[in-house]
Subunit: 296 residues, 2 copies
């Protein structure tokens, strides 16, 4: 059993980013810049935003936090999105979710210019991803692909079972792994993954166990501790555990790790698996937006 | 075995459309209007466009054909798309594909205002469909849903196998049937379908037969005659055959109909199954765009 060490891979990816950005600056270019919009004072959101800003600093991405009180109107927030869309010094920006109830997340997300949508959550980016067009891929699916590519785990022709159908994980990772690779590169890169037979399971799925038993790769993003147990997987399976649950004060995933791990060829730990890859994906997306912009 | 009679259902849907539009006009509103842009003289495209215009006429939708020679530039075609986006007398429009090689279909499609995108093929509409937001759904997936709903074939918790991963059929129908229904209505409507466990198979899938044997519903859109044979399906399966192939001058689908039909609970014929539903979907989409516009 090989542990898919997201912490280690993320550190390497950060080092790569740091070097690329240092080279750009050595060549007289400006650093990439990310803006993070936060509304209100949700403690979890505050922590996430602080972590993202810290991560930016570590690789040389400039980060600007733009904070609004919870009573900002949808109209005012839309105006800020529009301003950021047009601000040439900002390469990408995110609006930290959740938003207060009087603001439609859908309306706000849809207003973000897809070229600056480094969370990859605008309908246009999602549609482009589904259609196999160049797009910005949302953080967790991008991180999962990077992890699979790093460990040279092929997906072509293999049966991938995705458990969970969220807009931020289940649906996009299913679409990415199912379709023709965007790039066919000689060595395996994240963009060369795809061509898998993909089954999407969720709360309404009837016989999850028998479906999982046919899977070569299982991606669990259901938010349910110990959902995937040892009797549900075949020997040699690859397990990607996206779950983050707090049980008895301890962070656990959606997989009964202790009993599933001995049967797995590869498995992500929680914490230290997909989690660290997610933040690094945001940094990669910001650099991608910067590179595509051509205004440096 | 019950034949899913697309010809009959499409006729009923056309009658409904005709009545709705007649009522609108009786109330002093203008008729919905569809514009169809065609470039060059591809004979198949000419036929498709003629059929669409005829179908519009049958239900009272005004149709305008806008024809360009094959030497139109991408820039000029983009200008026409922009003009149609802003023309308040046009409720929806389509650009008939394929386009000449010197014009990027992606660029043209992406330029269409999603609210007038009655083919449902812009990345934004596709992304909205994937995210479960109100959207215009492309013709064939919409037609398949209408057919399932008409015959009251439930999808919740059932295993749907989609064979083929095209942008116009495989990907969108997989996404639609997998996700939470957009509307939970007391009686079954197309919009209340969903919640299925969906597997997407394609040319790289290794053991298609064993996957199909577990399917409650199989949707075949691979463009390969007799791809699905009797040994690949279980008793009582529902079969939706999207294939249109010409073999020995005869129109056939992707299913070995003669041998598969006896095992099926429901099956679409080819021709007369999904095909007739596709054109009616375009008409429904045009009315939907008209209704949403609020300018009558």
């Amino acid at each position: 059993m090989i542990l898919l060490d997201g912490k280690k891979v993320a550190a390497e990816k950060r080092a790569e980013l740091r070097e690329t950005i240092a080279q750009l600056q050595a060549a007289g270019k400006r650093a990439p810049k990310l803006a993070i919009v936060i509304v209100g004072h949700n403690p979890a959101s505050e922590t996430y935003v602080a972590n993202k800003i810290k991560a930016c600093g570590e690789v040389g991405i400039e980060a600007e936090k733009i904070a609004f009180e919870a009573d900002i109107t949808e109209q005012q927030l839309l105006a800020e999105v529009s301003r950021l869309n047009h601000d040439a010094t900002i390469d990408g920006f995110i609006v930290q979710l959740p938003l207060p109830e009087h603001i439609s997340e859908t309306t706000i997300m849809s207003a973000i210019d897809r070229r600056k949508d480094v969370d990859g959550l605008t309908p246009e980016n999602v549609g482009r991803t589904v259609q196999g067009l160049p797009s910005i891929i949302s953080a967790t699916p991008r991180g999962i692909r990077e992890l699979l590519a790093y460990y040279q785990i092929p997906t072509e022709g293999r049966h991938v079972v995705v458990i969970g159908r969220s807009n931020i994980v289940g649906k996009p990772i299913a679409m990415l792994l199912m379709q023709r690779p965007y790039l066919s590169l000689p060595s395996m890169s994240a963009a060369s993954l795809g061509d898998a037979t993909v089954t999407i399971c969720h709360s309404k799925t009837r016989d999850l166990k028998s479906i999982c038993l046919t899977a070569d790769i299982i991606i669990v993003a259901a938010g349910c501790p110990k959902l995937l147990t040892a009797d549900m997987v075949k020997e040699g399976v690859t397990i990607i555990d996206v779950g983050i649950n707090r049980v008895d004060g301890k962070l656990v995933g959606d997989v009964d790790f202790e009993n599933v791990a001995p049967k797995a060829a590869y498995i992500t730990p929680v914490p230290g698996g997909v989690g660290p890859m997610t933040i690094v994906s945001l940094l990669q997306n910001t650099l991608q937006a910067y590179m595509l912009k051509g205004e440096r």
